[in-house]
Symmetry: C2
Subunit: 260 residues, 2 copies
C-alpha cells in the first residue's frame, strides 16, 4: 500500500459537514464512496486534517488515504474527480511517506470568514458570505482581535458539545480586511475547537456593533463560560483555506498575514 496526500476543495452548502454521519450527506462519505469505486472495494478509508461544519467551505482541506493502485501522481486528480459530485474537487495529490498523517501531523490551520454588511442581501452570495447589515467599527474589532490572539483556554469561544477536554489553543494571527461592504476575518492558529471560528467572528461582530467592549475579552476568557461570548454565526461565510504541515511554512503564513 502507498499513502497519498491531497487537497480537497468543496462548496459545503449541501452537506452536513465533513465527517461521516448516518443518513446524512457529508464530504467524507462522498470521498470514501469515490475511492471505494476506484479500488473496486465496498468501502475505503479517508483521513482528513479535521472536520468542518454544516455549510462550511474548503479551499485547502487536506486528506490522506492508502492505495493498492499504481496510478501516476499526475493522473490521480482526474481519476478521483470524475467520481466526485460537482461541488467537491481534489487536487495536488502526491505519494507521501507511509507515516504521514493528515490530522496528527498538522501544525496549524488558516480559516477565513466572510461577512457582507450591505443593506440588501446579494442572493448570488447567499451560500458563500454571511449577510449582516450593520455598521461595524474596524478599530474596536481590531482591539478585540488583539486580545484574542495568543495562547488561551477557548472554552468561552467554542461549543460545549464536544469530547475535547484540553481547550487551550494558540491563535498566531487574526486579520480584518474591509473591501466596500465585504469584510474578511482571517485566523491562523495551531488548532481550532468545535464552532470556534464561528464564535470568534460572532464575538467580533458584537464588538463591532458595540454590544461587547474590546476590554471585556480577557474577562470572557477568564469566565470559561460559552454564554459570555458572542453568538455562533452560520457556517455559510466560513472557509478552511490552508492546513500547514511544516513549521516554516506556517511561520511564513503568519508573517504574511500580519503584514498584509
Amino acid at each position: 500500500m502507498k499513502r497519498v496526500k491531497g487537497i480537497v476543495t468543496y462548496d459545503g452548502t449541501k452537506y452536513s459537514g465533513y465527517q461521516v454521519q448516518v443518513d446524512k450527506k457529508t464530504i467524507q462519505a462522498e470521498l470514501e464512496k469515490a475511492l471505494a469505486k476506484i479500488h473496486k472495494a465496498d468501502s475505503w478509508n479517508v483521513v482528513s486534517s479535521g472536520r468542518t461544519d454544516t455549510g462550511v467551505h474548503s479551499l485547502g482541506q487536506t486528506i490522506h488515504f492508502d492505495t493498492s493502485l499504481s496510478i501516476p501522481e499526475e493522473r490521480w486528480p482526474q481519476a478521483f474527480n470524475r467520481l466526485l459530485p460537482d461541488d467537491i474537487q481534489v487536487r495536488d495529490l502526491q505519494y507521501v511517506h507511509h507515516d504521514f498523517h493528515a490530522r496528527f501531523d498538522s501544525v496549524g490551520k488558516k480559516y477565513v470568514y466572510k461577512v457582507n454588511t450591505a443593506r440588501e442581501k446579494d442572493i448570488f452570495k447567499r451560500n458563500f458570505v454571511y449577510h449582516h447589515p450593520y455598521v461595524l467599527s474596524y478599530e474596536k474589532m481590531l482591539e478585540a482581535a488583539m486580545h484574542l490572539e495568543g495562547t488561551h483556554d477557548f472554552t468561552s469561544f467554542s461549543s460545549p458539545r464536544t469530547d475535547v477536554i484540553d481547550k487551550v489553543r494558540t491563535i498566531y494571527a487574526i486579520e480584518l480586511e474591509k473591501n466596500g461592504d465585504e469584510w474578511t476575518f482571517t485566523y491562523i492558529g495551531n488548532g481550532f475547537l468545535y464552532q470556534m471560528v464561528r464564535v470568534l467572528t460572532g464575538t467580533l461582530l458584537h464588538v463591532g456593533k458595540g454590544k461587547i467592549r474590546p476590554e471585556e475579552i480577557p474577562e470572557i476568557f477568564e469566565g470559561k463560560d460559552r454564554s459570555l461570548a458572542g453568538p455562533s454565526i452560520p457556517g455559510t461565510g466560513l472557509y478552511l483555506t490552508n492546513v500547514y504541515y511544516d513549521q516554516e511554512a506556517l511561520e511564513v503564513a503568519v508573517k504574511n498575514l500580519k503584514h498584509s
Copy 2:
C-alpha cells in the same frame, strides 16, 4: 386595482426556467405563489418581460402585476421577499400606469454571458460561469461579433423549437471583455429568440477556437439553418441584466457599452 412594476433578481440554478410548467419548479410559479399569499387568493397573475431558460440567472428581469392592496411602494419589497425562496428577490417595486406592460412595452434587453477558460474548474463558480478550458482569439471573436451586430434573420442562431415566426431581430451592440481567465460577452438588442444568446456565444467560442471563420457568419445568416451555427451552450453562464422601457435609456446603454 393598481399596477405594480418591479425588478426580479434570481439565481436560476434550481429552476426549470422562468415560465410556469406543470410539475416543474419555475421562477414565475414562485412569484405567483407569493403574490397569492399576500392577496389571500388561490392564485395571482404575474407578467414578465419574457421567459428565461433552465439555469439562467437574472439581475434585471422585469415584471408587472395588479394588486387590490394599498401597500406603500417602499414596503412592497419586504412584504414580497419574505414569501420568496432565498434564491429569488424583488426590488424597485413601483406603482405604474394601468396600461404599462412588462412584455409589450420593452424596447430592448441586455444579456451577459460569462465564460471561464482556466484549466481547472472553480467549483464555487460552477453554477454561475461556463467552464470552457480553451485558448480563444479575441481578434477573431471581435470580427465575428461585428458581423452579428445589426438587423438580421436569426433563424440559424436560435432554437427551432418555437412558435415564433418572425425571426428578424436587431442587435445594437456586442462587447467582449477579458479579465484573466474570465471572459464576458455582453449583448444589447431589441429582443432575443429562444436560446439565441446561448447560440450566439457558442458560435463566438467556435470562432475563438478557429472552428468557424469570422467571415463565415454572413453565410450562416443566409443559410437560415440552425445546424450551421455553433452549439447552444449551457444557461449556467447567462444573465438577463436589464430590460429597457425607454428608448433614450436604451440608446445610452448601447453608447456606454460601445465605449466601455
